[in-house]
Subunit: 325 residues, 2 copies
Amino acid sequence: MNCVFVTGAAGFIGSSLCDRLLKSGIKVVGWDNFSTGQTEFVVKAKEEPSFELKRGDNLDLGLLASAMKGCDTVFHLAANADVRFGLEHPSKDLQQNTIATFNVLEAMRANGIRKIAFASTGSVYGEAQVIPTPEDAPFPIQTSLYAASKVAGEALIQAYCEGFGFEGYIFRFVSILGERYTHGHVFDFYKQLMDDPARLRVLGDGTQKKSYLYVQDCLSALLHVIKAETAKAAPHGCEVYNLGINEYCMVTDSISWICARLGVSPKLEFVGGRQGWVGDNPFIFLDTAKIRATGWQPELTIRQAVERTVDWLRENEWVFQRRAR
Amino acid sequence: MNCVFVTGAAGFIGSSLCDRLLKSGIKVVGWDNFSTGQTEFVVKAKEEPSFELKRGDNLDLGLLASAMKGCDTVFHLAANADVRFGLEHPSKDLQQNTIATFNVLEAMRANGIRKIAFASTGSVYGEAQVIPTPEDAPFPIQTSLYAASKVAGEALIQAYCEGFGFEGYIFRFVSILGERYTHGHVFDFYKQLMDDPARLRVLGDGTQKKSYLYVQDCLSALLHVIKAETAKAAPHGCEVYNLGINEYCMVTDSISWICARLGVSPKLEFVGGRQGWVGDNPFIFLDTAKIRATGWQPELTIRQAVERTVDWLRENEWVFQRRAR
């Protein structure tokens, strides 16, 4: 791994990955269309001579293929992460997740690059009947366009591994928290509390159970597995790993940690029923035995990850101006 | 079910479905881009006043949506069925299967149509570890671009069922045989034997196990389940059914039946190893308990289906001129 191509390089996880890779002396080509990426997130990386930032969209296969030239590994993290609003623009997930992944694979093929790590999601398990959910859980029914588009991306990568000798690492993420986090419940709650610390509106009934992983723990897992090259010995040249933590919390737990950290005591207003939104998985809790067996383990608890996120948001309130919905 | 829209209406299964629907008094709008469809297959249907044939491609969403107007149910059978040659043109499966399915769903949404039956494939199970393979087999690794594109189509339909209240029927077909069959091993073997009845070249070692269903049995299953409206009571509004037969054969068995029917005794030449082609599933044998529990059962054995196919090919040798590869 000498030169790594990172899609979504200006995003939350992507920019953090670039920093980690650069720190360990690896050359990085960052690629982002800046639809949600932030130039501020790559300021630090751009100071490094071994970092190159290229602006472009995954739907532009020609530009993508030429940008990738000279790299030997691809971390494909770019995605439409607007999970909750899939039904408002159904083609977005198809384009930015499924077709984008196809283009990444084709650009790799054009450049003779075969190693790919892919950020998938634990929501591909739909409403899992087996919890914690292992990688070989029963063939699921998809319940969101986002998860459907990620399943499609996974399937494409697997077919390229089998058909073109690619080496694939698919990671099914739980929600990730930490520095540079710019969407999801901690972000939404923080924003509401900035506006009015006396009340907090919560989608669903607050009992939704969630599992969160700290971003640096997530990156450690990715880098650990890629370094171990586990897919080389895997059937079909592809490994699928759940990526999460062995604990979960309820939304109300997270709210109490956020409020304690901020020193506020809002009145909670619960809106809606069992689910936060149509297609929201009421409980994503992944069995992470497989990735732990490779020797990786997370260092932060969910509470610590929530607190670091709150601390970072407090120091970076500018992000709320950027992501107006 | 008063007016049915059939994609792939001039194809092997699609045209047979049109005939069946018309026979039971249902109005049919047939849609085909004639990339592999045959005008001869819809000659009979076109004699019916309740049949309308429209030429168009699923990638043309505008035309597709206007063609669908007035229908209440969609049978989405159109697909790139060039399973073996996926690696030669990787974008074809993405476009004609995944994006096409998305367009069919969007065209339905534009017209307020919610009921869809989809022809998926047993090859979505990859190299299944559980045989016979049930619908809730372990989350598989995809081994072909074709299967990957069908998994993507399934996932999209499921997400539309959950998100937009669609009523989805996904059928994972084994290989289908019978009248109007224009691709696959019986077709290939017949063609070879026409050219030279003294020798037959067989991909793989001939021990590949396969399960085949007769086309009219396949259609009976589709119509039976749609009529029973099972998906209305299903979680997420979507049902997935394996569609096959409780027996299988080896390629060599099928060869012996074909040769017996034709009265030839060719020398068999086996080419290649365990698999017929990269991504070929060495053994697809589906557990069909779920669809049988609805009351459906097939009437023909695999041998009878092979023989009917041979008989039809003998009476319709023109199809070999049409499908030159």
